[in-house]
Subunit: 285 residues, 2 copies
């Protein structure tokens, strides 16, 4: 496995693989790799790709009061994980390599970037879309792999790829969870033991919402009220940014549940902000 830091180096390696007839699979990450990332890597390898992982803690997707500085950067462990999982090349650019003297160009996916996390992290998705556009142009993958855990991110990137005609396919893989149900996240390592126990309530309330929908409830307000009751029992809960039931395509709140809906939540335990979501098929038309 190779690990390179420059755009010209990764381009050379990927071009060579492409010319040798290989398909390029790309897993963009911010590092601090866990079983969720590994599932994307495994999927790319299983798909027969020459697999590229990028590790880049992208400053432009962090807000001024967010955790850019303290975001975990366990590079040695990350490289070990990549090697064990048959990654072909890891791209680890510096912020200077990616943004040089400061980019003026932004990619913005309107509407989809506004609701849910967009309300609480105003420029987050502009940073995500822009860095993904850059990485797609650098790595030129045939397929890029994203996790369903970041549902809004996945929807935005899919839309950007369609709207800007990027010549690649986006594959979204299922959320990976601990046995307790807690969705894996690099930010889970911020949690104390008690906070982590409490954070499982996120999964429990998603399951509760699922059960209510399957039982025939179609008013989102009723379901969300039930969910708020459950989560409010968590001792270390310090805030709920949103609990929303939204349309899969537009990410807008639904008035009445029909077809498939996305249940999305963002909540804080101690000083750690967690997000999770579930797609539920109501069976209603």
């Amino acid at each position: 496995m190779k690990a390179v830091e420059t755009i010209s180096d990764i381009r050379k390696i990927v071009n060579k693989a492409g010319k040798a007839g290989k398909k390029i699979g790309f897993v963009p990450t911010m590092g601090a790799l866990h079983d969720g990332h590994i599932s994307l890597i495994k999927k790319s390898v299983k798909d027969g790709n020459f697999t590229v992982v990028s590790i880049f803690v992208n400053p432009t997707q962090f807000g001024p009061n967010e955790d850019l500085q303290k975001y975990p950067r366990p590079l040695k462990a990350d490289l070990k994980i990549c090697k064990e999982n048959k990654v072909d090349v890891v791209f680890i650019p510096t912020p200077e390599e990616m943004y040089g003297s400061g980019g003026l160009t932004w990619v913005n996916v309107e509407k989809l970037s506004q609701p849910l996390d967009g309300r609480f992290r105003p420029r987050h998705f502009r940073g995500v879309a822009t860095v993904c556009a850059k990485l797609f142009n650098i790595v030129c993958p045939d397929t890029a792999y994203f996790g369903q855990k970041d549902a809004q991110q996945a929807a935005i990137i899919k839309r950007m790829v369609a709207d800007l005609n990027f010549p690649l396919k986006i594959t979204v893989c299922p959320t990976v969870r601990e046995s307790t149900g807690l969705a894996l996240s690099s930010r889970n390592r911020y949690l104390s033991a008690d906070e982590k126990k409490d954070a499982v309530s996120i999964y429990n309330l998603l399951m509760k919402a699922r059960a209510l929908i399957k039982a025939g409830l179609s008013n989102p307000k009723t379901i969300i009220a039930e969910m708020r009751k459950i989560i409010s029992n968590s001792n270390s809960l310090t805030g709920i940014d949103y609990i929303s039931i939204v349309d899969l395509q537009t990410l807008e709140d639904v008035r009445r549940i029909k077809g498939k809906v996305l249940i999305a939540i963002a909540a804080r335990f101690g000083s750690t902000r967690l997000i999770d979501n579930l797609i539920v098929d109501s069976g209603k038309h």
Copy 2:
């Protein structure tokens, strides 16, 4: 020469040429081809490229009160010109093919899109950058050719390509002029005979400015005042949007002329808005 209307068709053709080891040269146009466009095509052919011309009157770069509807679309003549000049394939998508059910994604090049034409055409360069990003992703050229006549557009596209790491080179070719000095533009065909005669004053005042700078004047205000005197003698002049002397990189007004500067002008003759520019090396440091 082939002419295709769908994204999948042009992709197939370009992929095949690329696999045969050919370099792809791309000339994006809105049609109504003139000797300026032809100089770009000839440059691409001379560079040894498999040459792709797109003809697409891009609605997203026109303002609500601009000339989208009346913009000339002489497709038959355009195709003849392409064929005569050894274009390999012409891509003529419909607006539906390019924008489908309505794109949500915009590429914006901040700062460079604000001054000059940006002040008078607020969303123009956002439309230009976005459609070029789309076309670059569709055609995947090695080199794309733009005219210096649209200096701000060229600066913005170069910046977008650098900022978003598009794997291609931008070549900017000199402005082509009539023997009178009038810069070629598809919009010149809107001009009456008298307006066309008057519009030559744009070139004359650029030449005057050049002479003043070469003579050692370094205060832009003095030079611009002289330029305004010359152009105001034109009978059919109906407005001057701007006469500016700006930095080549930032496109911001310079306070004192040194090194190379861009002299840029936008003025209206009758109901037709024309732009022109000149790069002048002051020789000062």
